[in-house]
Amino acid sequence: MRPFTYERAIDPEAAVAAVSKAGAKFISGGTNLLDLMKLEIERPIHLVDISRLPLKDIKEEPDGGMRIGAQATNSDVAADIRVRTRYPVLSQALLAGASGQLRNKASVGGNLLQRTRCPYFYDTAASCNKRDPSSGCAAIGGINRGHAILGASDACIATHPSDMAVAMVVLDAEIELLDADRATRRIAIGDFHRLPGTTPHIETALKTGEMITGVVLPAPPEGRQFYRKVRDRASYAFALVSVAVVVATERGTITSARVAFGGVAHKPWRAKEAEAALTGGTATMATYWAAAEAAMAGATGRGHNDFKIELAKRTLCRTLAHAAQEN
């Protein structure tokens, strides 16, 4: 690990001021950043510890929504009874990710900013446009079984690894940011993560020195929520494909639907085409399959990951069939 200096910030304003130094980075749970620092993929020269900032509250908002502080741990959010009852898809997604130990440490803000687990990004002997811009992409033409099938580019086919963010996308969450000038802004989570294009090293809409202070969830959408994750082992593995849905039905007709996928793209992937195909349709497998076909119409495999296109369709159908069951 490269040497660095360390400081603990006492309030959010001090934190954004401290991180304005060149080479400085925030650290919170550290579960991803320290892993990457050990491999010298991340090489900050100064760390600003924001884990003790008073940004841990999980609060109900007057409009029926909730606000989750960026420093709340993944565990605290997943276990919050209000989240479990009103946003079960978020609790399910969090519990599908990592391990008990990691969830106890990982923050909500850090989860959003975690880096891809593409093995070529981690392998400093391999070319990677995300780690080393313009060096090439070893995953294209390499072992790409886990890689993106939607929204990828010739520069990068990495996926975003978060489960939590997939649920937040389906819930239309907004991310609250604070910058070095102490200005705050909110951005829709769908606009927060970027597709790789020609600049896969630029992963989010965060401006230099900006800090995530919280995530705002609008009031729960109508319908039943469900998160399903498909992976190589039963627990503690990243998704091959995951699906978050919110579906409302009335006498066998789908009145509203929201769909998002994880493990398929450089960002948590909202599938509006699938939602359009579902809304107004009958709650039957034929409708689900049509929606799945619509969601994957633009999908491209790179060889080893071709199976993910079919897997994503079937996972969506199974998840919809489960969620659309009327009580």
């Binding site: 001090a14 579960t31 320290l34 050990k38 020269i45 399910q92 391990s99 008990g100 627990s235």
Partner: protein, 188 residues
Amino acid sequence: MSLSTVGDTKNAENATENAKVALTVNGRVRQLELDPRTSLLDALREHLHLTGTKKGCDHGQCGACTVLINGRRINSCLTLAVMHADDEIVTIEGLGSPDALHPMQAAFVLRDGFQCGYCTPGQICSAIGMLAEAKAGWPSHATADVAAQTTALTDAEIRERMSGNICRCAAYPNIIAAIRDVAEGDRG
């Protein structure tokens, strides 16, 4: 602007000044001077000579380094020692002694919940943290209804909740039996 700044930024590329940090480990305050890069795991093992906590993968994948911070289980390899001033750290050495085993340690002995023993301190710390989580009503990926107030701690639940601890000897059936014994003892 900040509570504490350690190290000299100008020279950070060459060397880093050691940082003074007071860690509370197993109820004792320990004064240390550490390179800021020192993981909590290395501080425990190399500086405090508490070698019960094991280094397996050093990347948060195996769970051998699990310790309890303020009662919660974490991977000590993926956190910096300097980040833990003000915390209560408990390692395997703080749970019990050979003469007075913690109930979880006794259950692992009784149920033969290990073979080589390398993962055992992490398994035991993790199991204690996990039972506290279950007692607090936390759901898991194995829980059918996350909104339910209580969840029975079935073997499937224990397996899922302990998935962050790998046992290369595959003593899993006996590890689960040991944890189940303690969980049932807690209820009784």
